[in-house]
């Protein structure tokens, strides 16, 4: 067995080993962790974040979404947004309607005020 054959085999072995995946545990750190830190959120507590997300998904379900839709919609929100929603969904602004009597009355009053000035 000559030396260059041994070298070739070694090189092939190295290439094969590089192809092996890391253990599942060692991971790149996601951008969202950097983002949470940048928003001065406490060092991202993944348990708290998970709980918040499930809470909010549950609340969205109670408000008429399917479990699947609720999960998909929560997944598109940042940790900070989820934290702000938790427990507040009933209270937060929900844009709905463009025509209303109150609006027309207010417009009337505004016009009157501007004319008066």
């Amino acid at each position: 067995m000559n030396l260059s054959f041994v070298r070739l085999v070694s090189r092939l072995l190295i290439v094969c080993l590089i192809g092996l995946p890391f253990q599942v545990n060692a991971q790149m750190i996601g951008t969202d962790q950097v983002a949470s830190a940048a928003q001065a959120a406490a060092a991202r507590d993944s348990v708290a974040s998970f709980m918040n997300r499930s809470d909010v998904a549950g609340q969205l379900q109670a408000l008429g979404l399917t479990a699947q839709d609720a999960a998909a919609r929560v997944a598109a929100l940042t940790d900070a947004e989820v934290a702000r929603l938790a427990g507040q969904i009933e209270r937060l602004p929900a844009g709905a309607d463009g025509g209303s009597l109150v609006f027309l009355i207010l417009v009337g009053l505004l016009i009157w005020w501007f004319v008066k000035k």
């Binding site: 590089i18 890391f22 060692a26 983002a35 929900a94």
Partner: protein, 303 residues
């Protein structure tokens, strides 16, 4: 009713006193299509309009399941952002300034605004889309509810806009940076797009972010991560190495750089980067340790 004393519209007043510099006198984004809203569906209608403007096919029917909440008979602001991301666009909340809104229009991006059409304590919330302005007339051009084209004075807009803390948002096509962008808010907006699973679009927007702010940490790490996901290891290394140089205290930059170097087979360098990550400690220490362990194991197993 204390209208006279209660109405204060400082932004309109300020714009009357000192018109904004460097803006064209008149802008109208006539190409923004109109989607008429049905009952309670001003959220989906507004989004459909700005999605179309950003090059994404959408209508009230397709957007409704992304954002409408039946139990509230309306759409929450956060979900307006989420729906935008799920449609492959960057959702960016503007600063609460009318002038910034005008700058975005001048740059060609229509703006969704949240309005309260009623009294503060009995609000009726509504989303409308601003598609233009006229500085001389001090007016904006709006698509709202059943009306394709309305002209509202700045004062009128401000009056109905203030209760929602002057909230407004953009739906940006990938690669576009808002005219009034603030670095940190825009970086977070792109990261949120990545987190929503739109890696391809996020990559384009990270590149645009970094063109403008080359050392932005979220941008460099985000780009590195996304390129790694696309198996462009050279690009990933470049971004993460720049991150580690511009931010030598970022354990995340070193940790992720270590992963890329290991994937490239450069284990000695990978180990060095992983050791730097571990040395920086911080909340990501457990992950950095695992990275180092994995690299050391691989080095040991090689001849």
């Amino acid at each position: 009713m204390c209208l006279g004393g209660c109405i204060s519209l400082p932004q309109s007043e300020a714009l009357r006193a000192a018109p904004p510099q460097g803006l064209p006198p008149r802008v109208e984004l006539a190409q923004v299509p109109f989607h008429r809203q049905d009952d309670f569906l001003c959220g989906p209608a507004a989004l459909a309009m700005v999605f179309n403007a950003a090059g994404v096919q959408a209508d009230v029917e397709s957007v409704t399941p992304l954002v409408y909440l039946p139990g509230r008979q309306g759409s929450l602001q956060a979900e307006m952002l989420g729906a935008t991301r799920r449609s492959g666009l960057v959702a960016y909340v503007l600063a609460p300034r009318l002038e910034d809104l005008l700058r975005e229009l001048a740059a060609g991006t229509p703006v969704v605004v949240l309005l309260n059409l009623s009294f503060k304590w009995v609000p009726i919330w509504h989303y409308a889309v601003v598609v233009g302005y006229d500085l001389e007339k001090r007016e904006v051009i709006v698509r709202s509810a059943g009306r394709q084209r309305d002209e509202w004075s700045f004062a009128f807009l401000e009056f109905f806009w203030q209760d929602g803390n002057h909230w407004s948002m953009l739906a940006l096509p990938p690669g576009r940076v808002p005219a009034s962008a603030r670095e940190s808010e825009f970086a977070l907006a792109v990261a949120a797009l990545e987190q929503a699973g739109r890696a391809r679009e996020a990559r384009e927007s990270y590149r645009a972010l970094l063109k403008r702010w080359p050392d932005n940490l979220i941008g460099l790490i985000g780009l590195g991560n996304v390129e790694f996901g696309f198996k462009d290891l050279a690009a990933a290394e470049q971004a993460l190495r720049r991150a580690s140089v511009a931010h030598p205290k970022s354990a995340v930059a070193f940790n992720n750089l270590a992963h890329v170097l290991a994937a490239l087979g450069r284990l000695a360098e990978a180990e060095s980067a992983a050791r730097s990550a571990v040395a920086l400690e911080g909340p990501t220490l457990p992950q950095a340790r695992k990275t180092l362990e994995a690299i050391l194991e691989r080095r040991v197993s090689l001849p």
